[in-house]
Amino acid sequence: MFHLMPYRDLPADFEQRYHSVWVDPPWWELADAERVGQYYNWTLDELTYAARAGLDGICTNEHHQNAYGFMPSPNLMGSALAKATNGLDVAVVQMGSTLPTTNPPIRVAEEYAMLDCISGGRLVAGMPLGTPMDVNYCYGIPPMEQRERYREAHDLIIKAWTSREIFAWNGKYWQLPMVNPWPRPIQQPHPPVWVPGSGSITTWDFAIDHEHCYCFLSYFGWQAALGVVDGYWNRVQEKGKDMNPYRLGFLQLVVVSETDARAEEDYGRHVEYFYHKCLHVAREFAFPPGHHDWESLVAMVRRGGLGGLTSLNLREMGFRDFVKQGCVIAGSPETVRDQLREVIKRLRVGNLMVLLHIGSMPHELTLKNIDLFAREVLPHLRHIWDDEGWENHWWPQRLRSTPQHVG
């Protein structure tokens, strides 16, 4: 289960009154620290509940200066979750510490190793490039440097985990005289690495070449993802790799209720809150010049795609439109499991991530969604890839007995 930890009580006219949900939403006007404390605790409780309910993994992630999802330090959350879930067969999926802005990047190697030790070897090590809003605006990294910094940080972290010798790191962005982190992870040679991406070809190549799991994080549904996902699998084949479905992670918004009609009643306004408010990102924050490399930039300009996160007009859309587009899979357990089965098969997803807390969803309703999903949907999805006989190399070794992972 994926959780963003959004602000759950934005004003109804938020998207009309404010410039952006990210970077410059005014804290003092919009937020309340006591309430936020409650959200963090609910978030931890919801993820722990999901772990107890039988989901295979629980995910946190790093974002800054926003009401969309604000766990500036995912490892603080991950640490509480690792402790709370000891004894359960659940992976702690950190999606995760943003590499280009963690300084020096061996901090990621250290904190992830701590999480792996605390959890007894249950860590999945997400290695995100970070959004332009977080990395360029909130943390001040020049857009043109972001990808170079990412690659250097990645190489440094892997080497810090695996090297038997103490070494000097003489990088372009970081220099360290004696790298010798304490602790090292339990998982050897290192925890599985997941690389989140939004469809850029350079990220596919990076993930495939390093034998990492590529996770396509999109909020615009599986139909919209077809182009990217098919492109990814083509690339996997071009590079002569196997078609192991666990090479791919995919994020899907899911809401389950007793009936299709009840799902709309229960979740409709919270889904709309998410798309209308949480994704209200000012365009200039999402596309600073230099963030995309030259090849991706030319491709984007050619597609006329400098318009925003999506070509969908989110503000004009309502719950039924989001369901129709496949942005959210909603309904009775039967409806949801049928659609998810189709998504899994069509996209060839081994590691399905489900966003079960969405926008303004209150705590009790979130627990209901988790509960129905875990009891009525998840068992029907577990064995989809069994007949092909793949091993999930991108899952903690000690948790690999369960097939089809849903986190």
Partner: protein
């Protein structure tokens, strides 16, 4: 306009052969070096005007214009960039030349001139960035939606030179490349100024011991005209020309005032 001043493009292999820097040149007369603004080099009316009196050499920032887009990755820092421009001047065999820069290019000109004041004869800085007033910050032009750029850059959008600059190619493929190059150039120059265009120039500006002309539009919305005082305070004897009714590109918005003043200063 006249094909007589259509610039000639050449490539200079510098930086131990790791860069092929594109240099555009045109005109007749003694040499002059021009550094372009953040959005890349456009051979505009101002350069045409200079080229009637000088042979204008305008190197393109590595990665921009006609150069290989990936060349930007060979330039690690502002320090590298200053020395690369030194390589370019060496390769052109230029000594004691006048140096003119606009906006980002004016910041670079000030950096290069602070490093090697003896290489230049005179310096013209048009709306330079490079300093910072906390209570009157420089606008982050990279954070402005691309369609709002013209309003930010120019006070007088009707000026013919501005209109010409804003005209994009008709051919769809040329338009794609022009737009991509413009965005890419902002990304390349952004590498040296993001997130705040103050990289310590204030500690180096006093070394610009050259006759210097500062040109500013009174309504500059990128670098407010107050910054002219700051530059003038650091550069001894600098003269300032403030142009009414102009924004961040006074040389294009009010060419009748700026070009003669610049020529007079350079030839004085």
């Amino acid at each position: 306009m006249s094909l007589a001043t259509e610039p000639k493009g050449t490539f200079l292999e510098v930086w131990q052969g790791r860069l092929r820097v594109s240099v555009k040149s045109a005109g007749q007369g003694p040499p002059l070096v021009y550094f372009h603004a953040a959005a890349g080099l456009r051979w505009d009316d101002f350069l045409e005007g200079l080229a009637r009196h000088f042979t204008v050499y305008a190197p393109e920032l590595p990665g921009t214009g006609d150069s290989d887009p990936h060349d930007i990755y060979q330039v690690d820092s502002l320090w590298d960039l200053v020395l690369i421009m030194g390589d370019v001047l060496d390769a052109l065999g230029l000594r004691e030349v006048p140096l003119v820069g606009h906006s980002f290019g004016a910041m670079l000109a000030a950096e290069v001139a602070a490093h090697w004041p003896e290489r230049f004869r005179r310096l013209v800085l048009i709306a330079p960035i490079g300093l910072w007033r906390q209570e009157r910050p420089v606008t982050n032009w990279m954070a402005v939606p691309i369609e709002q750029m013209p309003q930010l850059m120019f006070r007088d959008l009707s000026a013919p030179a501005v209109q010409k600059l804003l005209t994009m190619p008709q051919d769809p493929e040329q338009l794609v490349m022009a737009q991509a190059k413009l965005i890419w150039a902002l990304g390349c120059s952004g590498k040296f100024v993001w997130p705040i265009p103050d990289k310590g120039l204030k500690k180096r500006l006093h070394r610009v011991r050259l006759p210097t002309l500062l040109v500013w539009g009174r309504d500059d919305a990128v670098v407010p005209v107050e910054y002219a005082q700051d530059f003038a305070a650091y550069i001894q004897g600098a003269r300032t020309l403030v142009v009414d009714g102009a924004g961040h590109a006074p040389q294009l918005e009010k060419p009748d005032q700026v070009l003669p003043a610049v020529l007079q200063f350079l030839q004085g």
